[in-house]
Amino acid sequence: MILEIGHFAVITALVLAVVGMITPWVGLQTKNGAWVAVGRQAVTLNFFLISIGMLAMVYSYVTHDYSVKYVFSTSNSKLPIFYKVAGLWGGHEGSLLGWAWILSLFCALAVWIHWRTQPAVMPYLISIESTLLTGFLLLILFLSNPFERTLFIPPDGKDLNPLLQDPAMVIHPPMLYLGYVGLSIPYSFAMAALFSGRLSEEWIKVTQRWTLFAWLALTTGILMGGYWAYYELGWGGYWGWDPVENASFMPWLIATAFLHSVMVQETRKMFMVWNLFLIILAFSLSLIGTFLVRSGVLSSVHSFANDPGRGIFILAFLTFMLCLSFGMLIFRSSKLKSKVEMESFLSREAIFLYNNLFFMIAFIIVFIGTLYPLFMEVMKFQKVSVGPPYYNAVFMPVAWGLILLMGIGPYIPWRKSSVASLKGIVTLPFFVAFCSLPLFYLVGIQDIYALLALSITLFTLTAIVRDYSALAKMWAERDGVSLSRGLARAFRQNPRKSAGMLTHLGVLVMTVGIVFSTLFQTEKIQVIKPGETLALNNYQVKLVELYPVTGVNWSGYEGLFEVYDKNKRLVTVLRPQKRLYEVSQTPTTEAAIHQIYTGHIFLTLPEVTPDASSARLRALHNPLVMWVWYGGGIMGLGVLMNIFRGFIFGPSRNKGVTTPAVVVPIPDNAEIVT
């Protein structure tokens, strides 16, 4: 009964979404704001209706209602309550409902937040978001209905996929959806600009927080996914360039490019059309990602069930949105062109242009790599695979280019700079990076990719340190305080710049983590019996005992391992497991990880003989692997600081516009009105 109420609520939501799609246009045509207000009611109501739908599903989970097909396929009575609820987004139908719910939430939020300040945008925002919601609700209600019941009630559920019974995996999808949906708000603003032929100068400021938030959510979602893959899938890696991973990485790349490029528009009022293109592309990639993941078009560890019917609908909807968005861009962009005033190749504007170029190339590499096998298959050529070896060879150099730009761009002033100035910025970092090369080589880092990556990282780090130490010195002298106080003042003085610096620092930390954990990983696979030892670099891993274990809804084996360092001291005791989840009969391996100063010791048991007499052990030493997520954390901190900078640092004196660093001599006869 409750479920049917939820179902009915979502059907009503579909009707209201159509209303929300149409009424703003009527309002625009008749120049009657009342119609647009109707749209606002529809949008608000939709959030509550879809929430009712979600709650009804949660109710079904909590009450073990297995007559609901979807609950049956993603839950089980033995499941802990936390995962029972998480089952809601553990499968295709439910996660789509989650997408729709977040969409309705953001739409309602955006409409209510900006109703008074951006009245011109409202009709378009309501209409576009309602169009998106209509598409998703149609898909949900007709082709992927989580509210479907079966006539025969099974005694118990099929269980949530054991790989998903994990905290990181519970957070990962919602975070990604927050990111994808978050991008739809700036996208709607962009579409509003194209439809109406004009755009307020505040567009960037207004949507900035939305974009930052979406970017943060997307980054968190991707990193959570990587972290989960690392300790749950057990092959010691965290990123496989899997097509579905790439599907979330592509919008991320474009969103990052967009975040940078809009700064040019903010300060110099240029590149409007390019920025519109970027945000449309970013959101379109979110939709394309949805298509790729749910249509079965690509083979991937992540794929949901293959279903051409669904795939055709999603493709049709996707095509409609692509044609609408890019069509409007092509036909109406001429109205929004801005005059480009670029005075020098060496200016902040130009650097952002180079930055965007590299991001686009990076995006194209991932795009081509992901779709090439599909392309070859469709053209009936020889079927190929594009895997990590390709991306590592081709993508990395572009990433280095971006990191290099990161160490130059922030220090080049707007409008115009000189080669001498550039020399001043670049010389010290280059010198440090160059000298580090032989040092790295001598220490044992001889792989060319590692050398280049690390030296370029050092280049940018030096640039950041040089800049902030100069600022700290200046403020320390001016205020007559110590250097550290000067640094604090420098940090507070320009919150936006400091937030950006923090984020960039996070990228550097992550890069180092990636280089070391990938190129210097040691791995051994060995069949081992109790009493035997495996040598892993300077460590000895000894299997003491192998015995069966059971859990709430699984049974399996555990190995008790002792890890000794080269001085024969016991470092830790690790207990990796091999589990079999009873209901779904799915095996999983639970890795045992120990953090040592320089990284992780990582043990898994892919295989244990039924009599527990021996096991295959996969032992890894992952140097600095945690730096990947520490770096991510620092990035996130930087962005949070940026989003809440008004709250943390007080009202901004810069009003979001960075003061041009070009020194303008005030002529003697200038009038200054006091």
Partner: protein, 160 residues
């Protein structure tokens, strides 16, 4: 006298050549197997390499890679064997031949071409850019003038 030195040198050389053909240690074998297996795709998994996967087929493929490594085959030879059985699909790195070259060289060519086009565009922009004089540069509004006045005051008097 000299013959003795030549003889010793020859013996040393022949001994060192034996070092090159000395059997690989277990560690070296594992490293090579890992390196090569990482470039092979597990045919029954969804985008995992033969090294990462625990599927039966992957284990059997690893065993074959191991045998061939011990027999002295190079990575390319081993990959060629699997390609002859499964097709190009089985290697994770698309071979640099035929149309595949598009994805290998395409991005860099695109980068170069785009960089050139951007260079040209910027050159046009730079030429067209209106050279502004300082007074035109940042039209100052009242709030701006106020700020400048205040800043100048502190500059002159040294107050904070």
């Amino acid at each position: 006298m000299r013959q003795r030195y030549v003889l010793i040198t020859l013996i040393l050389l022949s001994l060192s050549s034996m070092a090159f053909s000395a059997p690989l240690t277990e560690d070296e074998i594992q490293v090579k197997v890992r390196e090569i297996s990482k470039t092979l795709r597990c045919a029954v998994c969804q985008s995992e390499s033969v090294w990462e996967s625990n599927a039966e087929l992957a284990l059997q493929m690893r065993a074959i890679v191991r045998e061939r490594v011990i027999a002295g085959e190079s990575g390319d030879e081993i990959r060629a064997y699997f390609i002859s059985r499964y097709g190009d699909f089985i290697v994770l790195k698309p071979q640099v031949k035929g149309i595949n070259q598009v994805i290998w060289f395409g991005p860099f060519i695109l980068l170069a071409v785009s960089a050139f086009l951007i260079y040209r565009k910027i050159r046009v922009w730079v030429k067209q850019a209106t050279k502004v004089t300082p007074s035109e540069l940042a039209p100052i509004d009242d709030a701006g003038r106020q700020r400048i006045a205040e800043a100048l005051k502190t500059y002159h008097t040294g107050e904070k």
